[in-house]
Amino acid sequence: MITDIVGLLAGALFYSATVFLVAAGLQVIYGVQRVVNLACGSFFVLGAYMGTTFVTVSQNLGLPPILSLIPLIAAGLSLFFVGLIIETCLLRFVYKQDVHFQFLLTYAIALMLDDAIKYFWGSSPRVVQKVYTVYGQIDIFGATIPNYNIVVVICSCVIAILIGYMFTRTRFGIIVRAAAENPDITNALGVNMKVVFAKVFTLGTVLGTLGGALVIPSRAAMPDMGWELMMMSFAVITIGGLGTMRGAFFGSLLVGIVRSITIFVVPQLELLIIYLIVIAVLVIRPQGLFLNAD
């Protein structure tokens, strides 16, 4: 019994950690730019595939598998230029437009990214060898928990703290929060909103690519894995409400736990669960993100 609960919680935490990063990326971009980034899932997939490449290359170069965390994080961070290019060349032209069109542009971006990923990596799943197992496992109350999962959860928390610190203590963070509260005044105070928007979007997408890269040892990178996460992130943002990382944090926890419990109880519905949860969340608690989007 305890074994089951511990196993369930561990699985939930791991999933939550993953979702949190994508949701945080979504939150950051929406909070400041009021743009809903439908492509957040695609960035996740991009990070995942790039992660496989970085790890494979580093292993070929002789890096011991236990240090694979380094190339994984590097993979996530290195993709910053993708978000940057997309923001400067595409997104910035639709800020003045109706919210539906901004939305549709991110949808188009998702489509393009998906095919771009297929072009570079093909459409078959890709895995990295050895990394997951090399971290070993731990036994808690009879439940076997892969240590890598714990590593991911820790990484997620660290990133959450870093982001929190950035928003509250750094100059950039304060500017970003001001821009989120009142873009016009911030602009009038001499802040270059174009630069802020570019940086914020890049940050948002990097959180997604990092999330994708980090999960790679535990699962294969697959083309359609992004949409599921995108939907879950929306559920998370809706639960957590607009405004704080804390919302994304607790929202992710809740979503992860509900998902794990539901899969445990009704495993046949695994594919459908995600969408059912999203629908349930959106229906039960529509405040926060979406009420403000009107």
Binding site: V36, L90, F93, V94, Q97, D98, V99, H100, F101, F103, L104, L105, Y107, A108, I109, A110, L111, M112, D114, D115, A116, K118, Y119, W227, M231, F234, Q268, L271, L272, Y275, L276, V278, I279, L282, V283, P286, L289, F290, L291, A293, D294
Partner: protein, 324 residues
């Protein structure tokens, strides 16, 4: 004066288009006629989508649900030995209407982006359902669609291709024409005026006594039925219905067609369906990374010309009118 000649111009274009459609099987290649069959189906699908988007202002990211629902209804009916197309159409209207009533009741209570994500989720739910419950739905492989009976006549002895390009072509043309006319009537009715009011100004509409969510619900239902009808008409043409019809990519196609042609005019989406279907046919055979082109095209339209081709034509005509 200029307005009158423009009106005459529109009528002229309409008549020409009608004539071309009527004689297409005679004057064009088999391939072109075959693709036109797809245009008919997409026309209804896209008119349904845009009734919700262009007239009411609600963006559904999940209309692939209705499109696939219509297609699967055809396949299912045939499995139950129902081959009469008229009966199948009726069943499609009933089934899609019911689904739209249920899903609509949930979705239309919510705000714009929220609404979009909800519809997206429902479509993906349906997609997952189609794949997962393979013993009912045929799973990834889908279900075969046999030759329907048109107006009571069984065309089993006619070669499939010939049937499609002749008998089925004219049947679909008629059905599409009729249902399009019906939607046109609806758009020009007090109902149509009311939903346009809601899109223009929701607050003022409420203060005029208009019950917002009731009209949204009704529009959603009509929209779902039309898109399902489009899917149903397409089913015999595709010959095999599979879950990809419910995928978000299919929803995206409908959106692209609508934006490309122009969402603010009644015929805009129809034009978009026409262009898109032929374009897709041409490019899909030539390109492997079709999604990328599709996405790029959507991005282009959104950034550069969100009002679409008809919108651009309209603005151009207005400029001429204003200049006189």
């Amino acid at each position: 004066m200029i307005l009158r000649s423009l009106m005459k111009g529109k009528i002229l274009v309409g008549i020409m288009a009608g004539l071309i459609l009527l004689f297409l099987p005679r004057i064009a290649t088999e391939h072109i006629t075959f693709v036109m069959l797809g245009v008919f189906g997409f026309t209804l699908a896209v008119l349904g989508f845009n009734f919700l988007f262009g007239y009411l202002g609600l963006l559904s990211l999940g209309h692939s649900l209705f499109f696939s629902l219509g297609a699967y209804t055809v396949a299912f009916s045939m499995r139950q030995s129902i081959f009469s197309m008229e009966l199948i159409i009726l069943i499609t209207i009933l089934v899609s209407g019911l689904v739209a009533i249920l899903i609509g009741a949930i979705c239309v209570r919510y705000t714009q982006i929220h609404f979009s994500i909800l519809t997206f989720a429902f479509a993906m739910l349906f997609y997952s359902f189609l794949i997962k419950f393979y013993f009912v739905t045929g799973g990834d492989d889908g279900l075969r669609v046999l030759t329907p009976h048109l107006v009571g006549t069984n065309f089993a002895d006619v070669p499939k291709m010939q049937f499609l390009l002749r008998e089925y072509y004219y049947y679909t043309l008629t059905v599409t024409g009729l249902t399009t006319w019906v939607l046109w009537r609806i758009v020009k009715s007090p109902f149509g005026l009311t939903i346009r009011a809601i899109r223009n100004n929701q607050v003022k509409s409420e203060y005029l006594g208009i019950s917002i969510w009731k009209y949204r619900w009704a529009t959603f239902i009509i929209s779902g039925i039309y898109t399902a009808l489009g899917g149903a008409l397409m089913a015999p043409v595709i010959g095999n219905v599979d879950p990809s019809l419910a995928h978000w990519f299919q929803s995206g196609s409908l959106i692209l067609m609508t934006l490309l042609g122009g969402f603010a005019q009644f015929v805009g989406p129809v034009l978009g369906a026409l262009i898109f279907t032929y374009l897709q046919d041409f490019l899909m055979s030539a390109l492997h990374y079709w999604r990328f082109v599709f996405g790029a095209l959507l991005a282009f339209v959104v950034i550069v010309a969100p009002e679409g081709i008809m919108g651009a034509i309209d603005s151009f005509l207005k400029k001429i009118k204003g200049g006189v």
